[in-house]
């Protein structure tokens, strides 16, 4: 079976662009021409369409499943349930706690019961609707606080993690005390390109899967286990990805489509509708957070206590780690001598939650920044000054006792952010005012206020995880090819990989191969880690190739390689005998190197949550200017100024794009984004009612970059994707509080809350 895809995701070289340049992304041209192949664009001769039957109930026992009526529909080729699995009916990102198909117990609304393959997507849907399932509906466990002590709804119990972080003497208290309880609703990653994949049965009894994902190898392992196949018989290739933001870290249609392909002997394409996408991937953990800060009258933080409850939904995904992140970064980027953190990641019958950009730090930042404003007001200290006064710096200790060895320029991001100019007054046009196209608000109804917030989190994975990536560099006649399994999801890794190769080798033409499992794992595109880990592997591979070129030239000239330098594509010897361009110095010779990158060792947290658990950190500050219509409770986020700790700007244009995109997601969480869940069911699984910002909602952004190189990171650069999502939300809400006087302890804020009706 041949796969006839549109021109592949293989990226073309672009002219110029070294580290520090705003290099144009190599897949930009295919994307603007509509020629870039997203996973959903693939097509294959003889292809069938897959569909999934999902439980509407959040908690139920399945008494029986009758697939007969579905099989009777002409054009239906397969209907598979748990009964059809030969391998293990279990999958999961780290811990295989989730069934591929429900056997008997339904634990969330949307849980897969069966998969169908048919010759037309509508036939597959009709077959799905024809399956008769006898559910015995049971009361769902939906309150995470209750779930902690409630009877287990899963053999692994209801607690994904309970983590305590204890520092100093938490009973110490300063004279000024501020306490509050905060809530964060369920945000969704809402990437534009719904889940899609094409599974093709192979002649060797294995399967080839082209799929949009964040981590090819982890997916491959899970698929292989369920299929009962050795890993080398399950080959994954990255199909073009329409955004991820954490939602593609877990498998979705991968196993279902491969099962259908192997069962029918035909290629099977699965593309989720938007509704199924909302049901079919993990979401951001909703949280309930109590915090109590105490301080000296001058604002010096004395103590910090918090209880954090994260609703992880029905299955584990990455809840274990989100809980740790929330705990470790709960106090924000400030020095805290005494602290007690209790963090719970809890299983309920709500939709499963997992990775979303910001990963636990987003939730606690909303709380700690609200607290810092209140603490400043209680001390009679300026809100920005309070933060500067307590700001962490390199050499300080975190809540977990870890000393910050790398860079963390908190004071610098605060000052740089505040130094950015404020925006001009609003244009006198109803479209520019809160309510926008709804024509609701006149100039006299608007109050403009400013809010400020700072946040930070870790980069890379933590707690002793030996993270790694591998990359290959091949150089022939001045053309370099980079091979790495790092998933490009829009963030621009492929551009940075080219920039590294151009800078190190001094060539202009750099191809980046499609990502697949034929090379070793690059790990997940998450945790702001690809720049360091896969970037580190690319850098190492390019440097290894450079060294081999110099060795070759040295040998052919009877010289010591140490006498040669490679600068900007020119190989020169100290005695002047060699002066050649790398592109022509070894015609027809292939230089190749494959290198692995590991970051430095980290350690687990002990029983008091103490330990050297994190690799690296990044911080950012945000100042939000918001126009509020207090009477109607409507909001227009006008402008956000930000300064971010980036280590080194690899690509100014891409860096700005990541910052603007992350800020938009933060604005969304502040003002409009929430999956409403009632008795475990999502009420608004559509773009009609899960609202994300439009162009009329997006603020203008002014950004400043603080470049303090990070040791151990390629070119000193830090991943930039997450910090923009962390303190943007609290900055916006702080401005709305200033405009209305309302406490606004929950995000997203609703017009009711802003207008003071709740």
């Amino acid at each position: 079976m041949t796969v006839v895809s549109r021109p592949s995701t293989r990226t073309e070289p672009t002219a110029g662009g070294r580290v520090g340049d705003s290099a144009i992304r190599p897949d930009g041209v295919p994307k603007v021409r509509g020629e870039f192949a997203f996973a959903g664009d693939l097509w294959s001769e003889g292809m069938l369409w897959g569909a999934t039957l999902r439980s509407p109930h959040a908690s139920a026992i399945v008494r029986s499943i009758d697939i007969g009526p579905a099989l009777a529909i002409p054009g239906v080729h397969a209907v598979l349930t748990a009964a059809d699995l030969v391998g293990r009916n279990r999958y999961g990102l780290e811990h295989r706690d989730q069934p591929v198909f429900v056997e008997d117990v339904v634990r969330y609304s949307g849980e897969p019961i069966a998969a169908i393959a048919a010759d037309h997507p509508d036939t597959a849907r009709r077959a799905r609707d024809a399956i008769v399932v006898d559910y015995e509906v049971t009361p769902p466990l939906t309150d995470p606080d209750v779930a902690i002590d409630a009877p287990a709804i899963h053999p692994d119990g209801n607690l994904f993690r309970q983590l305590v972080v204890k520092r100093g003497d938490p009973t110490t208290r300063g004279p000024v005390v501020v306490e509050g309880t905060y809530e964060i609703g369920m945000q969704d990653q809402a990437f534009m390109g719904p889940e899609a994949g094409l599974a093709i049965p192979a002649d060797d009894g294995g399967v080839d899967l082209i799929v949009s994902t964040q981590w090819l190898h982890n997916d491959r392992d899970q698929v292989a286990e369920v299929l009962g196949l050795p890993p080398d018989k399950v080959r994954l290739t990255l199909g073009g990805v329409g955004g991820a933001f954490g939602a593609r870290e877990d498998v979705s249609l991968h196993i279902h489509s491969c099962l259908l392909a192997l069962h029918t002997g035909r290629p099977v394409k699965m593309v989720y509708s938007r509704r199924e996408s909302f049901l079919g991937h993990v979401h951001r953990h909703p949280a309930r957070i109590w915090m109590r800060h105490s301080a000296e009258p001058d604002g010096t933080i004395v103590s910090f206590e918090t209880r954090i409850v994260l609703d992880g939904g029905a299955y584990r995904s990455s809840s274990f780690h989100v809980t740790a992140n929330a705990a470790c970064f709960a106090a924000g980027p400030y020095r805290v001598p005494n602290a007690l953190v209790e963090a719970y990641g809890v299983r309920t019958n709500n939709p499963p939650c997992g990775a979303m950009r910001g990963f636990g730090a987003v939730q606690v930042a909303f709380a700690h920044e609200a607290q810092m404003d209140r603490l400043a007001d209680a001390c009679g200290v300026d809100r920005v000054e309070l933060r500067l006064h307590n700001a962490l710096a390199s050499g300080d200790e975190l809540l977990t006792g870890q000393r910050i060895e790398g860079s963390l320029p908190v004071a610098e991001v605060i000052r740089a952010c505040m130094a950015l100019p404020e925006p001009p007054p609003a244009v006198d046009d109803v479209l520019a005012r809160p309510g926008g196209a709804g024509n609701t608000t006149d100039a006299s109804s608007v109050r403009r206020e400013v809010g400020f917030a700072v946040g930070f989190k870790n980069l890379m994975y933590a707690e002793g995880y030996d993270d790694d990536s591998v990359a290959r560099c091949r150089l022939e006649d001045g053309v370099a090819t980079i091979t790495c399994a790092a998933a490009e999801v829009g963030q621009g890794f492929v551009t940075v990989a080219q920039q590294f190769a151009r800078t190190i080798l001094g060539v202009d033409d750099v191809f980046v191969d499609p990502a697949d499992t034929s090379i070793g794992s690059a790990g997940s595109t998450s945790a702001s880690r690809q720049t360091m880990v896969s970037g580190g592997a690319v850098e190492a591979a390019c440097r290894a190739v450079a060294a081999r070129v110099l060795e070759y030239v040295a040998e052919t000239h009877g010289m010591d390689p140490e006498a040669l330098t490679l600068t900007d594509g020119r190989i020169q010897s100290s005695d002047g005998r060699v002066d050649a361009v790398i592109a022509s110095v070894a015609p027809g010779i292939v230089f190749e190197a494959e290198e692995e990158f590991h970051h430095r060792v980290t350690h687990p947290l002990d029983a008091d949550g103490q330990g050297d658990a994190h690799v690296s950190f990044a911080c950012a500050a945000h100042r939000a200017v918001v126009d509020v219509d207090p009477e109607l409770g409507l909001v227009r986020v006008v402008h956000i100024a930000t300064a971010q700790d980036v280590g080194r700007v690899l690509n100014p244009l891409q860096c700005l794009g990541q910052i603007e995109g992350g800020i938009a997601q933060g604005v969304g969480l502040a003002t409009m984004e929430e999956l409403l869940v009632d008795e475990g069911r999502i009420l608004n699984p559509s773009f009609t009612d899960y609202l994300i910002p439009t162009a009329l909602d997006a603020p203008t952004v002014a950004a400043a970059y603080i470049e303090e190189p990070e040791p151990g990171a390629p070119f000193g650069a830090k991943g930039v994707g997450e910090p923009p999502t962390i303190s943007s939300t609290p900055a916006v809400v702080a401005a709305i509080r200033a405009a209305t006087g309302r406490p606004l302890t929950r995000v997203p804020v609703r017009p009711d809350d802003v207008a003071g009706l709740t």
Binding site: I24, R25, D27, G28, V29, K31, V32, R33, G34, E35, F38, G40, D41, W43, P69, G75, H120, P121, D122, T123, R126, A130, A190, F191, M192, G193, P194, G240, G242, G243, V271, R274, V427, D429, L431, A432, A437, V489, G490, Q491, L653, Q654, L656, G657, E660, G661, G662, I663, A664, Q665, S686, F687, I692, P693, T694, A695, L696, A698, T700, V701
Partner: protein
């Protein structure tokens, strides 16, 4: 459960060419037919509800969501997709496409085809739109990656380049 009838046969005029559609189900959207029957996957399926704009195409010169158009109902129209913006495969990028690439307005690229169509449509009707007019004109094109900053910068660049070219 009634059987799905797949015997629709009709001709669509797409990007200046007559394209035949065979053995189709009457309920197929224009988006489905373009992508799955006519080999034109430029328009994307982001929501199938008209909320995201990733499927934007021109039907008789009007920008519409192809997911909300019944393919069999537009047989007497001129349909233009992103692929039709350039008459030949090796053609240069349009001013709008070039601006999107150069201003970093493309990240994952899923919203890009629909956005480019919307911007081409806007600039064909209004050569010098102000910021608010632009924002409203693309308010039906959701983007999750860029936060619209570089998109608006690209449109500004395209406006400048278009007016430059017109002189």
């Amino acid at each position: 459960m009634s059987e799905q009838v797949v015997n629709e046969q009709y001709v669509l005029r797409v990007n200046g060419e007559a394209r035949e559609v065979h053995d189709a189900w009457v309920g197929e959207s224009l988006l489905y037919v373009l992508r799955e029957r006519l080999g034109l996957p430029g328009a994307k399926g982001g929501c199938e509800q008209g909320e995201c704009g990733t499927c934007s195409v021109l039907v008789d010169g009007a920008l519409v969501c192809a997911c909300l158009v019944l393919a069999a109902a537009v047989t007497d129209t001129e349909i233009v997709t992103l692929e039709g913006l350039q008459p030949d495969e090796r053609g240069a990028l349009s001013i709008v496409q070039q601006a999107f690439v150069e201003e970093g307005a493309v990240q994952c690229g899923f919203c890009t085809p629909g956005l480019v169509m919307a911007v081409e449509d806007l600039l064909a009707r209004d050569a010098a739109p102000d910021d608010l007019t632009v924002r409203e004109a693309v308010s039906g094109n959701l983007c999750r990656c860029t936060g619209y900053g570089r998109v608006l910068a690209a449109i500004e660049r395209a406006v400048g380049a278009t007016n430059e070219a017109a002189r």
